[in-house]
Amino acid sequence: MPLSLRTSLALLTLAATVMACSKTLPPAPEENSLLDGPIEGLSAADQARFLRGDEAFGEIFTSTSGLGPLFVAAQCASCHPGDGKGSPFVRFTRFGQADTTGNTYLAQGGPQLQHKALPGYSPEVLPAGATSTDLIAPAVTGLGYLDAVSDADLIALADPQDLDGDGISGRPHFNRIPDYAQLRPESVELNGMYICRIGKKGAAYDLLHQTAEAYNQDMGVTSIFSPIDPLSGLEQDPEVTMQTINDVVGYLKTLKAPIQRNPEKAEVIAGGEIFGEIGCDGCHTPVLQTGSSPIVQLDHVEFYPYSDLLLHDMGPGLDDGYTEGYATTAEWRTPPLWGLGLSRDAQGGSYFLLHDGRALSIEQAIEMHEGEGQQSADAFEALSGADQDLLIEFLESL
C-alpha cells in the first residue's frame, strides 16, 4: 500500500520542523562573554577584511607553507587563543638586551628564542651570558583602539618627573621605527624616534610592526616587511604576502573592545570605586580616546582599556634584566585590564598573569606590583577581605 499524500506530507513537515527547531541548536554565548568578534557597524569592506584577516590569523603554518624551520608557534591563534591571552604552553623568551644601548645578540639569534624546530632541525638555545625574559602573549582584542590613541594624549598622560608627586612617573616609549611604518596623524618625533605602544615593553610602533615581527620571530615566516630568516640570517622571499599581513592588521584593528559584564551590579560599582581609591587608576587609566582613524568606528571615540599605554618602573621583582628599545629593564608598558575576567577562558581555565604568567591569580598579580605600583599593592594589602573581594569582582567584570 503506497503512502498517502497526507502521510507523506506529514512526514516531510515533521522532518522540516524538527530540523528548523532552533531550540535543539546550541545558543550563541553572550556577546560580553567573548573576546573575539568585530566592532559593530563596520563597513562592508572592513567586514570583508576582518573575515580575511580572521582566517589568516587562524592559519596553521607547515614546513611547506613557511613554518620555521625554527619557530615558537605554528599559528597566530596559538599564542592568542580566542583572541585572548596566551598560556605558558606558548611562553616565549626574548634575550640579548640589558640596557638602552641596543640588543647585542642580534647576530646570535636575538631578540627572540625560537625554541621549537621542525623535525630534523635543532632549536635555538639561549646564548651563554645573554640576559633574557620569558613572556606570554597578550590578548589582541581592542588593539585598534589602542593603536588609534593620539600621541598628544599619551604625552598628556605622562609624568616622567612625577611632578604631581603621586609616586607614578609614566612616560611614552620613544623608539626607532621600521622604514615601512606609516606614521599616525600628528605623530610626535623626538630625535628621530616616535612613540611606540604595542607589546609588553611598548617597543612596537603599530600593529603592522608587531604583526610583521610576530610572523617572523614567532613562526619563522618571512615577509616583505621582515624578510630575514631567523635560522640562516639571510634575506628570503616572502613566505606570507603583503596582502595577508595587511588583512591581519585590519583584523586586529577592527576586533571589538571587551565588553564589561554586570557593570550595574552594586558590588562591581563598589569595587570600581576602590580601584580608584587605592590608586590603581594612576597607571590603569580607565578611559582613553582615540584620535583620527580612517575607520569610522575608531575615529575620535571614547573607550575603556584601563591602561595609559606608558612605561612604568615596576621595581626589582619584575625586573628580569632584559629590555627592548629605550625602556629600562624594570619598565613595562601598562597592560590593559579590559578582558581580564575572560582571560581564563583563553588560558585553559586558570589565570596566568603578568608578563610571563607568573601570577596565578589577580591577587597575586596585584601583590607582585613594586616600583610605581608599590603604593597600590600596599593599599590592596591594607584593605579588608570584603573590600579586596569587591575589587577582584570589579576586575573580573572587565
Partner: protein, 415 residues
C-alpha cells in the same frame, strides 16, 4: 607525481570500471555472507556481488558493476552560528568485479566525493584464492585496521556521519598500494580470520599539517602514495578476527611503520620515526532483541621529536559505539519488508593525550559527540536516515568547549 598524472590515473580507473560494468559477474565462491562471515569479508558482501552470484553461475570472465550513493541535507550551528541549510551529494561510489580465472578475482571501488571534487581509488585488488585459509591480495587494498575502514559503505550504517575515530583519528578510508595474505579457519562455532599486508604508508604530514595536530588522515593528501613510498619502508597492517556464533565478532588489529622521510636523496636529515596504531573492534547482535552493537577503540603512538611543538601529540586515542535497534518490521507503503530502526552513536576522540611540559596540566584537543538516529529501510540495501548530532569539542588548552549541533536527513543506497 603531478596532479595531472593523478587525474589521469583516476580517469583510467573510472573508465575501466565503466567498461567492465556492462556484464554480469560472480564473486569468489569462497566468500559468501553467512554466519561465518567476518568484517574482512565486507568487500565481498556488497549486494552487487551477491546478486550477481545468485544469478550468474560460475562462468569465468563475467563482470559486475554496482555501487552506492549518499546524499543528505544538513542544518546545524556551532555556538549559535549557523551556515544555514546545505544539501550535500557526498558520495557516489562505483564497484566492479571480475572473475579473471578460476579462484582469481578482481574487485574495485572508485569513489567520487562531494560531487566529484575528489576521486579516489579506495580499493582495486586482485585476490588469488589458493585456499580458504590462505589467499593472496595485491593492488590498492584497504588496510585492515579497526572495523570501519573495510566496512565503510554508507548503506550499511544508520548514521550519516562516519565515526570520528575512524575518519578523524584513523584515516578511513585508508587504502594503499600493497600486497598481503588473508584467510579464515572454522572450528565448531568459531571462525578465525587473519590478514597481513605490506603497503605504502604514512609520511611527514601526520605531524606537519594544516590541521595543527597529529593527524594520520593528512597522509591521504599525498598524491604520490599509490606510486611511491614516502621513505622506502613499508607499512605493516595485520588483523586477527574471531567470530563466535552467536556471541559475535571481535577483531584485534595493528598498523605500524616508519612514517618520516628521514634520508631524502640519501642525506640523513632525521632519525627514523615510527607510528603505531592498535585497534580493537566488535560486532554483536543480541538475538533476543535484535539489538546490534558495533564499535571500535583505537590507540595511536607517534614518535614526535621532543624539540617539536606539543601541539602535535605523541599519543592519541578514541572510540565509537553504535547501538542499533529495529523497532518496526512490516509492510510500509509499497515496501513489504520495511524496517524502522532507532539508533545511537557515541563518538570520542582525544587527539593529544598527555600533559603540558610547561604546566603539567592536561592537554586538550578532544571531542565528544552523541548522535541519536531514526532510519527507515525500505529494503536492506536502502536507508533513509534522520540524525541529530550534538558535539563538544575542546581546544588544546581545554578552554570552554565549542558546542555544535547538526540535524541531518539523508539517503544512502546500494545500486
Amino acid at each position: 607525481m603531478s596532479s595531472s598524472a593523478s587525474k589521469r590515473r583516476n580517469l583510467l580507473a573510472v573508465c575501466a570500471t565503466l567498461l567492465t560494468g556492462s556484464l554480469l559477474a560472480q564473486s569468489s565462491s569462497t566468500h559468501s555472507a553467512d554466519s561465518t562471515s567476518l568484517n574482512m569479508d565486507a568487500v565481498y558482501e556488497r549486494p552487487f556481488l551477491q546478486n550477481a552470484e545468485a544469478g550468474g553461475g560460475n562462468n569465468q570472465r563475467k563482470l559486475a558493476l554496482g555501487g552506492y550513493l549518499e546524499m543528505n541535507a544538513t542544518y546545524g550551528a556551532e555556538d549559535g552560528l549557523t551556515e544555514g541549510l546545505s544539501l550535500q551529494a557526498r558520495r557516489l561510489t562505483l564497484f566492479s568485479s571480475a572473475r579473471l580465472a578460476r579462484n582469481i578475482t578482481f574487485l574495485s571501488e572508485i569513489e567520487f566525493e562531494d560531487g566529484g571534487h575528489e576521486i579516489n581509488i579506495e580499493f582495486a585488488a586482485v585476490d588469488v584464492a589458493l585456499n580458504p585459509a590462505f589467499n593472496i591480495r595485491a593492488g590498492v587494498i584497504l588496510n585492515p585496521i579497526g572495523t570501519f575502514n573495510q566496512n565503510h559503505d554508507g548503506p550499511n550504517w544508520e548514521f550519516i556521519e562516519r565515526p570520528d575515530v575512524s575518519v578523524n583519528l584513523l584515516p578511513a578510508t585508508w587504502s594503499n598500494a600493497g600486497v598481503g595474505v588473508f584467510g579464515k579457519f572454522h572450528k565448531g562455532k568459531v571462525t578465525w580470520g587473519y590478514e597481513a599486508y605490506l603497503t605504502n604508508g604514512f609520511d611527514d604530514r601526520i605531524i606537519d599539517n594544516v590541521h595543527g595536530r597529529t593527524f594520520l588522515p593528512a597522509s591521504k593528501e599525498n598524491d604520490e602514495r599509490f606510486e611511491q613510498s614516502s621513505n622506502g619502508r613499508p607499512l605493516f597492517t595485520g588483523k586477527l578476527s574471531m567470530r563466535h556464533h552467536p556471541w559475535g565478532e571481535i577483531g584485534l588489529s595493528y598498523m605500524g611503520g616508519i612514517y618520516n622521510n628521514y634520508t631524502p636523496d640519501g642525506l640523513a636529515l632525521d632519525v627514523p620515526r615510527r607510528v603505531h596504531v592498535a585497534a580493537v573492534d566488535l560486532q554483536k547482535t543480541i538475538r533476543k532483541t535484535g539489538t546490534t552493537l558495533v564499535g571500535e577503540a583505537v590507540i595511536i603512538l607517534v614518535d614526535v621529536p621532543e624539540t617539536y611543538t606539543q601541539q602535535y601529540g605523541s599519543k592519541q586515542r578514541g572510540a565509537f559505539l553504535d547501538v542499533v535497534q529495529p523497532v518496526v518490521e512490516r509492510e510500509i507503503g509499497a515496501w513489504p519488508h520495511a524496517v524502522v530502526l532507532v539508533a545511537a552513536r557515541i563518538d570520542w576522540v582525544d587527539w593529544n593525550v598527555g600533559t603540558f611540559n610547561e604546566t603539567g596540566e592536561d592537554i586538550g584537543d578532544g571531542l565528544w559527540a552523541i548522535t541519536p538516529a531514526v532510519s527507515l529501510r525500505p529494503t536492506a540495501q536502502t536507508v533513509f536516515r534522520l540524525n541529530y548530532r550534538y558535539q563538544w569539542q575542546t581546544d588544546i588548552l581545554n578552554n570552554p568547549a565549542a558546542l555544535t549541533a547538526t540535524w541531518m536527513l539523508g539517503l544512502s543506497t546500494y545500486f
